[in-house]
Amino acid sequence: MQLENAVPLRWPSGPLEIARRGKSEGFDPEIRQTLERWHDPAALEFLNGTAVDCIAISWAAGLPADAEQQRTAGPLIDAARRRNLAVVGWVDGAGDRKAAIAAAKTAGIEAVAIGGAAGSSDLPAIAWCEREDVPWDSTASAVAIGGNVWPGVNMASGGGAASAGPTSVPWLDSNGWYIQMARARLKAPLWLTFDPPGKGEAVLPRSHVKAICDSEAAGGRWVISLDDKLRSGLAAATPAAIEGWKQIAAAAAFFKGHANWKSYRSLGLMGVISDFAGDNFGLTGEILNLMARRDLLFQVIWKSQAMEQTFSGLQALLYADSTMPDPALRRKIADFMEQGGLLLTSPAWGKEGKPAPPDFETQFDVSAVGKGRLAVARKAIDDPYEVAVDTQFLLSHRNDLVKTYNGASSGCTRYTASADGKTALLQCLSYADGGRAGLRTIWVREKYRSARLLTIGGQPAPIDGQPSDEYIGAEYHLPANAPQNYVALEFER
């Protein structure tokens, strides 16, 4: 089976998982029983008819329980194969890779997920890594990256109030910026690994749905990981658990059905160039995160690929790396600026042109260079928040492509187009868990020939654009029953 468009579900079960979790806080008899039940082939029952076509089972972790895990997993693997489910054996970094791969092959497992670049393997491999050590040039079947956040509104511990950024605006946790950054470089499909938060408490199914949407909208695929309570409920086939699982499965099916969206390119007018290495990753990565939260739509340009990429369609570039680009790339960036673009950069670039300050304060000295503008930070760039804010103002909201009204804790909007440019896709996310903020309106600068509203579990429905009352563009009024956390608008030019 091809793993490129697989929908994987983390499948913790058996002696190895019991051994791994047995000493962790919150481990209790119920969890133990669930891990045992999930090792039973009958547990696969709830996957019938769903989009999930791959289970990622614990295979080796360098523990004594490895052997028993591999010995007892046979019936589960066989049952999965009978159901046309691919099985990926997860090999923890401490495991004996060779022995684990050999055992996986013997057991009939389709692929192994192993640390690092995966290297040579007799089996298809998933390269499993953390954000700090991604094998960017891996040709593995997929690259599974950990170190992600659970998407949602970040709640302050104890107080129950949404934690705030510098301006009291609720903080959104999202992996979208990282996925966009990684996908701009990776050749292999990108999987994300992260688990539900909390120690044993139930996580709402819609939180899992948000996790799927946050990953998929940016072009990644989450290795679905259910919380202990839901796994327990599914093992016992409780109606509540089954109902919750249906919501999650519907979201997975929705995105599996739109696999072509992953090939769409960002329509953002802001290009962000970096090598995303070391401190540059910390700084520019966080700038991307904050831009995404502000719906400042961007395109990621890896410095190593920048000479091959066109800057056409962009209106601004940000270059915040501590070291300046080589002469050829600097010339290319300068040409972009002189032909009418805006360049935001650090003091190392040096000042040029004639001062052209905006009529508001920023941390940049702005000058006119050719037909464009150069914005040089007055001091070394060290505050990603200020950069994101100033960038949006200097680019100007005059260039906004999309606005969302009444989107509760919305952000990280994705606006992309097909390669031929005939279809555009707007994916709107809301990270709120609570009630509605009211009827939602989506404003889009471009006027399209037609539009469809797509929702998880719903039928695509035509939606008419209304002329904007006071400005250019068109407004789309979402029906009252449109789901809060995710909608997509598909436009035809």
Partner: protein, 394 residues
């Protein structure tokens, strides 16, 4: 007539034929005009022009002057009542701003400035308009020499802020530090929607002045000793709750033992401001608005179309007439609608000598109040009075 004479009350005579015999001893009365108006655009311009004529004519007041229009862009720019743009429900409408600018220009205004201090906005007012989905050209191209100023930020002229003392010492603060744009202004216009307000009962031309307090001085998280370089929060801490004082560079409250609740504080602050920075013309838009609160609140607020405009040279007089049009008694005290949980802003401004709220003392031109009454309390859902101090306003 210099600015001080103008703003101290004589200016009102430019618009209205004051009848000294009918005035309250310390609270002036001037004519208020009411017009029916169903739409923005040409109908508004015609109606407003007629109202200004009924008030004595714009030219006598604005010719050769710097005119400042305080508009109202309260709340966050992404919150709407249903699908309706904010300008049709909670904000000053850009077409009414453009229309008034056009009339001011025709009347000979030398320079026209549109000002607002939107919540925590640190950039230009034009940028806010663009983010909010306005076309700034509806305002900027309505006449030559139109400027947009974000009064949250230090003014870029001779000095960033100017201190405005409150006559008679003020209710809450003895003086306020405001953008020096207000000091450079000869004529101040307060232009806003007719609405109810969760903390202050109503939000009309006086309450609109709350937004002139710069959030770099009166905003949350400002430094202790000096203004913040840019806003970091709304006006809750210093304005609504009184949980802290402005930076030491600005005047502190007169009496920090007074109630720390919005229903006490906000009416006093805006009454102080109405006395300290007198408004020469109040223009209230009841063409389209909301009932139930000042900001969209599902289940409470409802979009309504009273189809009425109210304008006058005196903010208290004008707000009193507007309250009557809304179906409220401007003489109502705390506990009575719409002041269930707050003090009456109009009474407090009246006490500072700004103007009378006694409808018996106010001459009304144009439509009669009783012919245009639109009872706000007949619309919207149950009012949800929030705990004092918990509201965000401009």
């Amino acid at each position: 007539m210099n600015r001080r004479q103008f703003v101290s009350g004589l200016g009102a005579a430019g618009f209205a034929m004051i009848q000294p015999g009918r005035m309250r001893a310390s609270a002036p009365a001037s004519r208020v005009a009411i017009a029916r108006c169903k739409s923005y655009g040409d109908e508004f311009v015609a109606a407003a022009g007629k109202m200004f004529d009924q008030l004595g004519g714009l030219g006598r007041v604005v010719r050769g002057k710097t005119v400042t229009i305080k508009i109202n862009l309260t709340g966050v720019e992404t919150a709407r009542q249903d699908y309706l743009p904010q300008s049709r429900t909670i904000w000053t409408h850009p077409r009414t701003v453009g229309g008034v600018i056009h009339l001011l220009d025709k009347a000979g205004a030398r320079r026209i400035r549109v000002v607002e201090g939107p919540w925590i906005w640190p950039a230009s007012l034009q940028e806010f308009m663009l983010k909010a989905g306005w076309d700034p050209n509806l305002v900027l191209s309505a006449a030559p020499r139109v400027e947009l100023i974000n009064t949250n930020m230090p003014y870029k002229g001779s000095k960033p802020f100017t201190r405005f003392s409150v006559p008679h010492g003020g209710h809450l603060f003895p003086a306020y530090d405001l953008s020096s744009a207000f000091a450079e202004s000869d004529v101040l216009i307060s232009m806003t929607k007719i609405k109810e307000h969760g903390t202050a009962g109503v939000t009309l031309s006086i309450k609109n002045l709350f937004g002139i307090t710069p959030t770099t001085i009166y905003g949350n998280k400002v430094p202790k000793d000096e203004p913040a370089p840019k806003p970091y929060g709304g006006r809750q801490e210093i304005g609504h709750m009184g949980s802290r004082q402005p930076p030491s560079s600005s005047p502190s409250e007169k009496n920090p033992t007074t109630p720390r609740e919005g229903g006490y504080r906000i009416p006093r602050i805006v009454a102080d401001l109405a006395a300290a920075v007198p408004v020469s013309l109040a223009i209230l838009d009841g063409i389209e608005t909301i009932a139930g609160a000042e900001l969209p609140r599902p289940g409470t607020t409802e979009a309504i179309s009273p189809g009425v405009l109210v304008a006058g040279a005196n903010v208290v007089n004008t707000d009193a007439v507007a309250m009557a049009v809304m179906g409220f008694d401007p003489m109502a005290d705390r506990g009575k609608a719409p002041f269930e949980t707050c003090d009456n802003t109009l009474r407090l401004a009246e006490e500072l000598g700004v103007g009378t709220r006694d409808l018996g003392q106010i001459e009304v031109a144009g439509e009669a109040i009783e012919d245009v009454v639109f009872k706000f309390r007949d619309h919207g859902g149950p009012r949800q009075w929030r705990p004092p101090g918990s509201r965000r306003t401009a």
